[in-house]
């Protein structure tokens, strides 16, 4: 009997080929370049946004926090992936794969974890932007299942890791705040912060 994870995977992957337009859109949204790059561009925007220095300083610290959360979540996902070694769904099942076939392990989704980490941090200081980012990352997560490179549980675990990665960042922030502050001050000298 198929478990829920596989049932959802088969349902979503079964949509492949039903609509040419949807397939085309998904091949864009699932890309390693589109949504991750859009999130990073949003971080560049966050750096410059803010009508006064104190708001900007808070946002700029947030950019550093987002990058740290991304690194932490990526590291944790990599570690879990090495321990669990779950094969990709297209290896164990007969699926239609719209994406290239990754050679690393499936659980958890590293890309989803990193992107969720960025969105989660941004949500702590700018709810509107953070929620828009969550929406984009949701599309990425859906696309990963749709094209057959992840199980739903992979992306759910990725999302959990991403969201939880803000905890160590906020604990570490007390320790390392002078470093980004120093960087921001240098950028301010060059009129870029």
């Amino acid at each position: 009997m198929l478990n829920l994870d596989e049932k959802i995977l088969f349902t979503l992957n079964g949509l492949n080929g039903k609509s040419e337009l949807l397939d085309k859109i998904i091949t864009w949204t699932v890309s390693d370049y589109l949504i991750p790059v859009l999130l990073c561009l949003a971080l560049i925007c966050v750096w410059f946004i803010g009508h006064n220095q104190s708001t900007r300083y808070r946002y700029q610290l947030g950019v550093f926090a987002a990058l740290a959360a991304m690194a932490i979540s990526s590291g944790v996902a990599q570690l879990i992936s090495t321990v669990i070694q779950r094969p990709r769904p297209f290896i164990t099942h007969d699926l239609v794969v719209l994406f290239y076939k990754p050679t690393d392990f499936s659980f958890p989704s590293n890309a989803v974890a990193a992107c969720f980490a960025i969105a989660a941090v941004v949500c702590t200081f700018n709810k509107k932007l953070g929620l828009s980012m969550f929406f984009l990352v949701g599309i990425l997560a859906f696309s990963r299942i749709y094209v057959g490179v992840h199980y739903p549980s992979d992306v759910i675990m990725g999302a959990i890791i991403g969201i939880l990665s803000i905890i160590p960042v906020y604990i570490l922030r007390i320790l390392i705040e002078p470093i980004p502050t120093c960087f921001i001050k240098v950028a301010r000298i060059f009129r870029l912060a």
């Binding site: 390693d32 925007c45 946004i49 994406f99 290239y100 076939k101 990754p102 007390i174 000298i189």
Partner: protein, 157 residues
């Protein structure tokens, strides 16, 4: 890298419009500059995905995560530098009056072009570099290790 460079220029234009940073706009009219930014962002993304298949595994010629990160960083840096150069040329007549010259950081770019802002900063630095550096680094937040060590020193003295 061209994709990131173009997108960065576009993003900065949109942000400069929102934050009213006139010196960073590369067209004189603010709204047109923001639309230009949006356009360049959409064109960069479309060009990137329509020109060739970008979904390639890093084992067969695609970019791995590290190279992607470096590519993004370099592209974003080039995009930012290009924006600063072009906007300084376009806004050559955007100057602050002497009474407004105490504005620092990005705030100064609302009414002064980037080149002049950097020039002013350099002149202040050159006039008294010791005071200048002291002023920049006096109010750094103290981290918890610093506080604990300081506490220990006070306790054992």
């Amino acid at each position: 890298m061209i994709f990131v460079c173009g997108s960065t220029i576009g993003s900065i234009q949109i942000t400069a419009y929102i934050s009213n940073l006139r010196a960073l706009l590369i067209l004189r009219k603010q709204i047109i500059s923001a639309l230009f930014g949006l356009g360049i962002l959409i064109i960069s993304i479309s060009w990137f995905f329509l020109s060739e298949n970008r979904n390639i595994n890093d084992t067969v010629g695609g970019l791995d995560a590290n190279r992607q990160a470096v590519g993004f960083f370099v592209g974003a840096l080039i995009g930012t530098i290009l924006t600063l150069i072009i906007s300084s040329i376009v806004n050559f007549d955007l100057k602050l009056s002497n009474s407004d010259k105490n504005e620092g950081g990005l705030d100064s770019l609302r009414r002064q072009n980037y080149f002049l802002a950097i020039k002013d900063e350099y002149l202040v630095f050159r006039s008294d570099c010791k005071t200048y550096l002291a002023k920049q680094y006096t109010d750094l937040p103290k981290n918890i290790i610093h506080e604990r060590v300081k506490g220990l020193f006070v306790k054992f003295r």
